[in-house]
Amino acid sequence: MSDPRELPWEPAARRCGPIELRMPADPDLVSAIRLTASAMAAARECTIAEIDDVKLAISEVLLALIEHGSGHPLCVSMELADSTFAISGSTDTLTFDRSHPDLALCETVLAEVCSDHSIELAGSELRIVADVPLSRSDDR
C-alpha cells in the first residue's frame, strides 16, 4: 500500500493550464482575459516584470485577432510551462493585410516581450502564437 502522504502525481515546478477559451471578438472582454493571464502567471510565482510581459503579449494577440479578424469568435489558449507562457489564438479573417501598419506596431511589441511569435494566415484563418519567456524556478 502506498504512503498516503505521497502525492499521486509529480508536482511540476511551474505549470498552469492550458486554459482554452472561445470568446466573442469584443474589446470589452480583453481586460478580463488579461486578468486571467496575469493571475495564471502570479499563481506560479512569476516576477512582476514577467507578469507585465504576459499582460502585454495576451493583449497584443487579442488586439490583432479582433482588429484583423472578421468579427467571428476568437479561440485562445494560454499555458504556463516551466520556462514559457505560451499563448495561441485564431479567428476567421476576410481581408487580412499582412503589411498593415497597426499590425507592424503590434509585432514590434510582441518581438520585445516574446522569445518567439508568429502571425500567419492559414486559408481563411488568422493564427497568432506568442511565447513569453520566464526565468526557470530553479534559476531564482
Partner: protein, 104 residues
C-alpha cells in the same frame, strides 16, 4: 466630469484642463480617451495626466499618436504628465517618445 462608458477607462478633466486618465489604455479604453481628446480646446496643448494608468498596449499608443496628429493639425502638441514605467516602456519599445512632450 467622469466617463465610465465604453470600458474600464475613465477620464476626469482637472481645473487646468488636463485630461486625467484612469485605467487601461487599450482596445476598449482608447476610444473613450479619443472622445475626450477630440473635445479638447483647439488652441491649447493637450495635457494627458497618466498617473493612474497601469497598462497600455499598442492600440492605446495609437490613441496617443492620433492625439498628437490632431494636435499638430491645430498647431499645438500633446504633453504627457506623470508617465509611469508601463507607458514609458511602450514609448521606448516603439521608438515613439519623441512624438510627445513629456513632463519630467
Amino acid at each position: 466630469m467622469t466617463d465610465q462608458r465604453g470600458g474600464p477607462l475613465s477620464v476626469d478633466v482637472d481645473t487646468s484642463g488636463a485630461l486625467v486618465v484612469h485605467g487601461d489604455i487599450d482596445i476598449a479604453g482608447g476610444p473613450t480617451l479619443d472622445t475626450y481628446v477630440k473635445r479638447s480646446d483647439n488652441r491649447r496643448p493637450i495635457v494627458l495626466d497618466l498617473d493612474d494608468v497601469d497598462f497600455i498596449d499598442s492600440s492605446g499608443l495609437r490613441t496617443l499618436l492620433t492625439a498628437t496628429r490632431r494636435a499638430g493639425e491645430r498647431g499645438t502638441v500633446v504633453r504627457l504628465r506623470n508617465v509611469g514605467t508601463t507607458v514609458r516602456r511602450m514609448l521606448e519599445i516603439t521608438g515613439t517618445a519623441d512624438q510627445f512632450e513629456i513632463e519630467e
